[in-house]
């Protein structure tokens, strides 16, 4: 567990590392999913091609979309793209940079799936078994079959148990041929992808380095600004809730005291912190009323300047103060009618 924690901390150290980590995990997951997947060629003339190519192409598309979904920055990109201009200009280069870096990371898992599929060979064997060149690979002595019958026989090549065309073309020969083509395609695909990645990475410093540095800085800035704004709002919400609840308890205590027609209990000056925290509610009945009221009638989302100061003594004894003398907690210093 310690090892995982260390690796996790390293990956979390900055945003890019974290995204690279997710990207690597998705690539491994993609390879693992392929090995777990139970490939079952239908061995029927019309269905083989659809099944084989479907397994080759549909999961990569899903993995690509999943790569975008798992990327936190997608919502940030969408927000930045759609926000009204306001007082801050929009820079298209920053949006392009963000989109490109997300797309590059999302491409890795699909590329891994396609490579593993091609190198394994089952999909291509299933999809193209009816296109095997029987003239060159088959037994020349065998009399020709009608087209439909030939296709039916060839379609069963991937399913060794039911293959009945051994005289027409040997099963192993056909499978070896198809697998060879598939693996050649696979390695060519891998080479093409690595060449593309290399070109993309190495041409950038040669041409657009200054623009790149600018886009990278501002895209990090937008990300950090959003996070800090969320943190500030969370802090504000915390203070708001704290004050709102304090005012609720005080209001409760005052109302009940007024209903019982005696002045609100005042805490002696040396009562200490615990008494202050009781917020004026000191018996079971009052507490029950407070809880019931909290459920039935939550206070409005509106903080008043404090009518009662906190429990350490009064400014004006025996009279409800109209204007608070000195707010002692984090409350608004003015009353807004906006």
């Amino acid at each position: 567990m310690d090892k995982f924690r260390m690796i996790f901390q390293f990956l979390q150290s900055n945003q890019e590392s974290f995204m690279n980590g997710i990207c690597g995990i998705m690539a491994l997951a993609s390879a693992q999913m392929y090995s777990v997947f139970d490939f079952n060629c239908p061995c029927l003339p019309g269905y083989n091609l659809a099944y084989g190519l479907g397994i080759l192409l549909v999961p990569p598309f899903i993995l690509f979309l999943l790569g975008f979904v798992l990327n936190n920055n997608v919502s940030m990109l969408a927000e930045e793209w759609r926000r009204p201009q306001g007082q801050r200009g929009k820079d298209r280069a920053v949006l392009r940079y963000m989109f490109c870096s997300m797309a590059q990371r999302a491409m890795i898992a699909p590329v891994v799936w396609v490579s593993v599929t091609l190198l394994d060979g089952k999909c291509i064997t299933c999809a193209f078994c009816t296109a095997v060149p029987v003239e060159t690979l088959g037994n020349a002595s065998h009399p020709g079959l009608p087209q439909g019958e030939m296709k039916r026989v060839l379609a069963r090549i991937p399913c060794k148990e039911i293959y009945d065309g051994q005289e027409l073309i040997a099963n192993e020969v056909a499978i070896r041929y198809l697998r060879c083509i598939s693996q050649a395609l696979g390695w060519c695909f891998v080479l093409l992808m690595t060449t593309l990645a290399f070109l993309v990475r190495s041409l950038r410093p040669c041409f657009t380095q200054a623009a790149f540095l600018k886009s990278r800085y501002w895209s990090h800035y937008i990300d950090i600004e959003r996070k800090l704004f969320d943190e500030t709002c969370a802090e504000h919400a915390r203070s708001f809730a704290k004050v709102c609840i304090q005012q609720f308890f005080e209001g409760m205590s005052t109302d009940l005291a007024a209903a019982r027609c005696h002045p609100p209990r005042k805490a002696p000056a040396d009562a200490g912190e615990a008494t202050e925290k009781l917020l004026g509610i000191t018996d079971q009945g009052t507490m029950n009323m407070a809880l019931k009221s909290w459920h039935r009638c939550k206070p409005p989302l509106h903080l008043h300047p404090p009518a009662l100061p906190s429990g350490n003594g009064w400014a004006g004894e025996g009279q409800p103060p109209a204007h608070p003398p000195m707010p002692r907690r984090e409350t608004a210093a003015y009353y807004s009618r906006v």
């Binding site: 310690d2 090892k3 260390m6 390293f10 900055n14 926000r83 306001g86 007082q87 801050r88 190198l119 060979g121 690979l137 040997a170 192993e172 020969v173 070896r176 041929y177 697998r179 060879c180 693996q183 390695w187 080479l191 690595t194 990645a197 290399f198 990475r201 190495s202 410093p205 040669c206 380095q209 800085y217 990090h220 800035y221 950090i224 600004e225 800090l228 704004f229 500030t232 802090e235 504000h236 915390r238 203070s239 708001f240 409005p300 989302l301 509106h302 903080l303 300047p305 204007h323 608070p324 003398p325 000195m326 707010p327 608004a332 210093a333 003015y334 009353y335 807004s336 009618r337 906006v338």
Partner: protein
């Protein structure tokens, strides 16, 4: 776990170590990919050579490019090479040093692949079974040339019906594997001797230049890392100030629009006012709406000049 942590920290300690670590991982990955890869020779006269040599040579190219891509220093080197001169001179010796160290590290995984391939032997057997002299082997001597080509092409496939009980197949296979392994070990020996000589003889030539080039290449690398970290820190502070400024301006706007009581509690101005004057649901909603519709300009000069 302690040992693992120490190893991890050692590799992180400087960028050369990180590169060496990546290089080692890529070499291990190359061996793993080869063992997982299901080699299946087509056993057809025209295809064998292409397949065998293709499997031996195409993955190394992809591994080499991967080695260049994963190496952070290659980007640093390219940037240093292409940057305008400006106020800082460019030293070609440093760029050459960086280039050679990047190439050396990137070559390790492809070389490992080729050597593993040769020592295993399947690729060479597949590629060159058709080029063997049939006169040397009893089973193939008495057949027409076309037939001989067909039979020789099927040598790599043990399970083929023609080859299953053919003793000459094993002879050809052993012969080719012997050549393949000899080639593999020779290449390994040559490379190790070359590496040994290079390391031993290097101090005899230009040691001072080498030390300078190494120092400055490390410097360029570290400088770039620190620049990126400083930019990150700066953007964090910038964002912090920008948001505080935004909250303050919202507070002022609310004050302007309200019929407010005289501002009380002047003494509390020194305290941290976390609520920042925003104390109602509609005020919060307004703030959030303003944040979306009218983000503040990227200019904190008034804040910092106070």
């Amino acid at each position: 776990m302690d040992r693992f942590r120490m190893i991890f920290q050692y590799f992180q300690s400087n960028s050369e170590s990180v590169m060496n670590g990546i290089c080692g991982l890529l070499a291990l990955a190359s061996v793993k990919i080869y063992t997982c890869f299901d080699f299946s020779c087509p056993c057809l006269p025209q295809y064998n050579m292409a397949y065998g040599l293709g499997i031996m040579l195409v993955p190394p190219i992809a591994l080499f490019l991967c080695g260049l891509i994963l190496n952070r220093q290659s980007l640093v080197m390219l940037e240093e090479w292409r940057r305008p001169q400006g106020c800082r001179k460019k030293d070609l010796a440093v760029i050459r040093y960086m280039c050679s160290s990047i190439m050396q590290r990137a070559m390790v995984a492809p070389v490992v692949w080729i050597i593993v391939t040769l020592l295993d032997g399947k690729c060479l057997i597949c590629a060159f079974s058709g080029s063997v002299d049939p006169e040397k082997f009893v089973g193939f001597a008495n057949a027409s040339p076309v037939q001989v080509q067909q039979l020789l092409a099927k040598v790599p496939c043990k399970d083929d019906e023609l080859m299953r009980n053919n003793t000459s197949r094993k002879a050809v296979s052993r012969y080719l594997r012997c050549w393949s392994q000899a080639l593999g070990w020779s290449i390994l020996l040559i490379l190790i001797v070359a590496a040994f000589l290079a390391r031993w003889l290097r101090p005899c030539f230009n040691q001072a230049t080498l030390l300078q080039a190494r120092h400055w290449s490390n410097y360029i690398d570290i400088e770039q890392k620190i620049f990126e970290e400083t930019c990150c820190e700066h953007s964090r502070l910038f964002a912090h100030k920008c948001i505080l400024h935004f909250f303050k301006s919202m507070q002022q706007e609310i004050k302007l629009h309200s019929f407010s009581l005289p501002r009380e509690g002047e003494g509390t101005e020194g305290e941290e006012d976390l609520l920042r004057g925003i104390t109602g649901q509609d005020q919060v909603n307004k703030l959030l709406k303003m944040w979306y519709y009218e983000k503040p300009p990227l200019d904190v000069s008034q804040v910092t000049q106070r």
